[in-house]
Every structure is written in structure tokens, then in C-alpha cells.
């Protein structure tokens, strides 16, 4: 289980996240929803050590150790937002890079085949430059690269960003399959409806604070939207 205690983080003198206490249950999909600028991506960047933080991040009760690049070795893997792929490298090179941590290098071809079973289209595109892919395919490469690291905990940042609705559904089908296989997933998402459809737990972040934490089953979408858009007066 991944857990934050009084986590605060920001950029330079500006604090974006304030005393965030979250629990990400093992084997569950936890969705972090919230409007633009709420601090969702900042949360992921703090979790992965890309920006400094105060407070604690615990993995199975012990503080998460090391720098950003040490986390992948411990199974905490991030799929960055904006379909960040290495454009001048082939699809397969992008994917192989995901298996960079020492423990993933064993059977590279078996690892690739397992990943291709999730993304058959990437197999067709394996020797193509990643920069020439469509948005949906690039998102799949970013996720496939994450899978290659054989994550225990997969942090996915805004997978629906800028994708056509059909493609979004395709991406979320894959997220469902990953979840069914037992991967712990932390999903950052603005699209509350689709996030709710896959999530076990939902946390709403607004202006750097957690304003709602509930099991997805008990979340009422209207009430969530009232909180999301800060329409407290009119809610319920």
C-alpha cells in the first residue's frame, strides 16, 4: 500500500499541495479527480520525487527511499501526462527503455510479448518512430513503457487528455484489464465520469487540498460535481 502523510509540495516558493493524506490500497484503482490547477499532477510529481516535498510517502509502511530513478526499481512506475514518448526513437526502443530497471531486464522478449498482448497495435508499429504515432497510439506507448517495468503500483497521469472519445474508451478498457490483473493503479483524471467507472476509491482535490475521499460505489456524481466546481450552496 502506498500512503502519504501530511504531504506538501510545490514549485519554489509556491506551495501547491497542502497536507495531503491519502491511502492507495493494494490491488485497487484509486482515482484522483479535480479541476485544472488543483494539484493532481503536482501530487504525482511529488510521489515520484520529481519535485521536493515535506511530509512522508510510505510504501508498505516504510518511507519511500531514493531519488526518482530508484522508484522504478521498487515497482513504483509513472506514466507521464501528455503522452510523453521519445519521439526520435522507435516504438520498441521506447518500450524497451521501460524495462531499464535491473530486475526487468531478464527475459525481454517475454516481457515485450506480455505488453503487446495489451497493445496489439503497438506490435504492428514496433519499428516506427514514436514521433509519427497518433495521439492514442502515443498514449499506448507511454502506458506500455510503464508496463514493461512490471509495476506494482502504476501512476497514470491524465490518460484521456486530448484524445478522441473512442480512443479514451479504448485506453480505459486497457486500464480495466490491468486492474483485473491485480496491478495497483493511481489514476489522475479530469473526466470524472470515466474515472468513476473504473475506480474503487475516489479522492477529489481542489486548490491543493483533498476535499472528498470515498469508495467509488457510494459517490453521487451530482454531489461530486458540486464539490468539483465549488457549488456548495446549491448541492444536495
Amino acid at each position: 500500500m502506498l500512503e502519504t502523510r501530511n504531504l506538501s509540495a510545490g514549485y519554489g516558493a509556491i506551495t501547491v499541495l497542502w497536507d495531503v493524506n491519502l491511502k492507495f490500497r493494494s490491488g485497487a484503482l484509486t482515482a484522483i479527480v479535480g479541476p485544472n490547477g488543483a494539484g493532481k499532477t503536482t501530487l504525482l510529481r511529488a510521489l515520484t520525487g520529481l519535485i521536493p516535498h515535506t511530509g512522508a510517502i510510505l510504501l508498505d509502511g516504510a518511507p519511500l527511499k531514493g531519488k526518482t530513478w530508484d522508484l522504478a526499481a521498487q515497482g513504483v512506475v509513472m506514466v507521464p501526462e501528455g503522452r510523453l514518448v521519445f519521439r526520435d526513437m522507435t516504438v520498441e526502443e521506447n518500450l524497451c527503455l521501460g524495462a531499464y530497471p535491473e530486475r526487468c531486464r531478464g527475459d525481454l522478449s517475454a516481457n515485450l510479448e506480455r505488453m503487446y498482448s495489451f497493445f496489439p497495435r503497438l506490435k504492428e508499429r514496433r519499428s516506427q518512430l514514436a514521433g509519427s504515432l497518433s495521439g492514442g497510439e502515443a498514449q499506448m506507448v507511454a502506458m506500455g513503457r510503464g508496463l514493461m517495468a512490471q509495476p506494482r503500483i502504476l501512476l497514470i497521469d491524465e490518460p484521456s487528455l486530448g484524445l478522441a472519445p473512442v480512443i479514451v474508451n479504448e485506453v480505459f478498457d486497457i486500464i480495466r484489464r490491468l486492474k483485473a490483473e491485480g496491478t495497483t493503479i493511481v489514476l489522475i483524471e479530469q473526466n470524472t465520469r470515466i474515472a468513476l467507472s473504473v475506480a474503487d476509491d475516489v479522492h477529489l482535490i481542489r486548490t491543493g487540498k483533498v476535499v472528498m475521499s470515498e469508495p467509488a460505489a457510494s459517490v453521487d456524481l451530482d454531489r461530486l460535481h458540486d464539490l468539483y466546481f465549488a457549488r456548495e450552496g446549491q448541492g444536495a
Binding site: T68, D70, A73, V77, M78, M89, G98
Partner: protein, 330 residues
């Protein structure tokens, strides 16, 4: 490229490349080139090796260096002094000098925090430190008067490396060896990671790459290779002075050669350095005895305009046009 998945680091292709380099490299010997011509070719191969070390840092490490003269000069002085003052055998002193150049590169580690033009400027300034050191520490280096009495290349098993043909073969072998090392690194996990760092350092860190460490290794390896070629050159020339060993030429020529030949390929910097140097010495010098470098500038500008990927890119383009290489979907 899809065979990066296999762990075979030395593919048939790269060995064929190495074999081709050796064959092409030995042609001048077979053709009975004059000692004067061989001398020029040796110098061009020294620049080719230096160009490889520059391209290794520039292409794989994503760091543009204007200061390879520092590593080259440190290597040449280190080898000459080790051989002259401590009596180290020359063929051992050369790799040791590479080690000393590597140590000198550690002083540059703070500059790794910089990127792009800031790194280039920092390393430009850094190169001057060693020229000044070599001038001022005259008790060790002979100062501005230079260093003359140090051993040349030895004779091993009846093969005289000090003689032109021998030196040529030795330098050629070193260039091929360094090219192979470059290929092995580029095809490894480290190589893929380094290319990724050049695109997005954050995204590379997230997948578990210690980018700072990898860049440090590349800087050290690049310095090692540059230092060894500096050492080779010192023992072949037999004379050192600070203004020569740390001359800006050693920073600029490998860049010109690599850009001309195609700095993104392994073979580009090698052929680029040889072609550019021979052009400069044989053709440009006979046309304009003083200021012949101006022709280099014109040729380089033309190359950048017509073939931004250099000779290697040009050759590749011709081959893909005739070979009908299949194109990826846009």
C-alpha cells in the same frame, strides 16, 4: 532497429562496419602512399578519434563540448611525462594518460548541471585552466618552452610503431576500437537511455534511469578517449608546448569533422575528420596558402545547408532512394 530487443551487442552490421573501416584504412598502405601523405593521414585519424570522443558526448550524452582540447592536452602531457619522468612504457602510458584525462574531466562535473549552450560555455572556459596550468607549472611541464625529450612509440615484436606505417596502423586500430566501443554503448540499455535523456530528462528518470550518473560516465569516457588520442599524437610528434597541446584546433576540428560527416552516426565523425583534414591540407592549402581555413568554413556551411545530417546522412539518403527502403506510416 528492432533488434535492440536482442541482447547481441555486436551485430554483424557493426562488425562489418569495423571491417570496412579497417579495409578502407589500409588502402593507403596498399597503394604505397608517400611518407608525407601517411603523416597527413595519421593526423587526420588522430582528429577522427578525437571526433569520435566528441560525438560520443554530443550525440549520446546530449552535451556539446567546446573544450575537448583540455582532455587532448592533458592526455598528451600526462603520457609524455609518465614516459619521460617515471619511465612508464609508452604503450602503457597512453591508456594511463587516458585515465589522467578522465580524472581531469571530474573537475567539470559541476558543469553537468548546466545544459545546452551554458554547458558549452562552461567547458570552453574550463579548457583554458589546463593550458594555464601547463604553462605555469614549468618545473613539471617545461612551461612555455615546451617538452622535447620524451620517448616515441616503441618497436613491439619487430613491428616499429615509431615509423610512419607502424604509427598509422596503431592509430587506425585505435580509431576502429573506439568506434566499436561507441557502437556497443549505443546499442545497450545505456545507449537507449542516453538518447531518451536528450529528449526528456524527467520522463527518462521516471522509468528508472539515473541520468546524472549516465551523463557523468559519458563525460569520463569521452575524456578518456580524447586523452588517449592526445597521448598518441604526443608520442608521434615528439614535441609538446602548451599552446600546441591545448590549442583550440583540438576543440574545433573534431566538431567540424563530426558535423561534416554526420555527428549522429558512428562512422560520420571518422570520415568527416579525415575528409575535412585532407581537404584542408591537400586542396585548400594549395589554393590559398594563408587563410586556407576559410574554405573549410564555406564547405561546412554548404554541407549544413545541403545535407544537415552530414556525409553519413547523404550516403544514407542516396541508398534509401535507390534501395526503395520502406517508409513508416506518417
Amino acid at each position: 532497429m528492432s533488434d535492440t530487443a536482442s541482447s547481441r551487442l555486436l551485430s554483424g552490421r557493426s562488425l562489418a562496419m569495423a571491417g570496412g573501416l579497417v579495409v578502407v584504412g589500409l588502402l593507403p598502405l596498399a597503394a604505397g602512399a608517400s611518407p608525407y601523405m601517411l603523416g597527413l593521414l595519421i593526423s587526420s585519424l588522430i582528429l577522427a578519434g578525437l571526433g569520435l570522443s566528441w560525438a560520443l558526448l554530443g550525440n549520446l550524452g546530449g552535451m556539446v563540448s567546446f573544450g575537448h582540447a583540455a582532455f587532448f592536452g592533458v592526455g598528451s602531457y600526462a603520457s609524455a611525462l609518465l614516459a619521460a619522468k617515471l619511465g612508464v612504457p609508452v604503450l602503457l602510458a597512453i591508456p594511463l594518460a587516458g585515465g589522467v584525462a578522465t580524472l581531469s574531466s571530474l573537475a567539470m562535473l559541476p558543469a553537468l548541471r548546466l545544459s545546452g549552450p551554458y554547458f558549452a560555455l562552461a567547458i570552453l572556459a574550463y579548457a583554458q585552466i589546463f593550458r594555464i596550468l601547463a604553462t605555469e607549472a614549468s618545473w613539471l611541464t617545461g612551461g612555455a618552452a615546451g617538452l622535447q625529450r620524451f620517448p616515441g612509440l616503441p618497436t613491439v615484436f619487430g613491428f616499429n610503431f615509431a615509423e610512419r606505417h607502424g604509427s598509422y596502423v596503431l592509430v587506425l586500430g585505435m580509431v576502429v576500437l573506439c568506434a566499436l566501443i561507441y557502437v556497443v554503448i549505443r546499442r545497450s540499455y545505456v545507449g537507449i537511455a542516453l538518447r531518451a535523456i536528450a529528449e526528456s530528462e524527467d520522463a527518462t528518470r521516471v522509468v528508472g534511469v539515473n541520468s546524472t550518473l549516465l551523463k557523468t560516465w559519458m563525460l569520463m569516457l569521452s575524456a578518456f578517449i580524447a586523452g588517449m588520442f592526445g597521448a598518441l599524437n604526443a608520442h608521434i610528434i615528439g614535441f609538446l608546448e602548451p599552446d600546441y597541446a591545448f590549442s583550440g584546433i583540438w576543440s574545433v576540428m573534431p566538431i567540424i569533422g563530426a558535423v561534416f560527416g554526420g555527428y549522429r552516426s558512428v562512422i560520420g565523425p571518422v570520415f568527416g575528420a579525415v575528409v575535412i583534414y585532407m581537404f584542408d591540407q591537400v586542396i585548400a592549402k594549395s589554393l590559398i596558402p594563408v587563410g586556407h581555413q576559410i574554405l573549410l568554413g564555406i564547405v561546412l556551411a554548404g554541407m549544413v545547408l545541403l545535407a544537415p545530417n552530414g556525409l553519413a546522412g547523404l550516403v544514407g539518403r542516396i541508398f534509401s532512394r535507390t534501395g526503395g527502403k520502406h517508409h513508416a506510416r506518417a
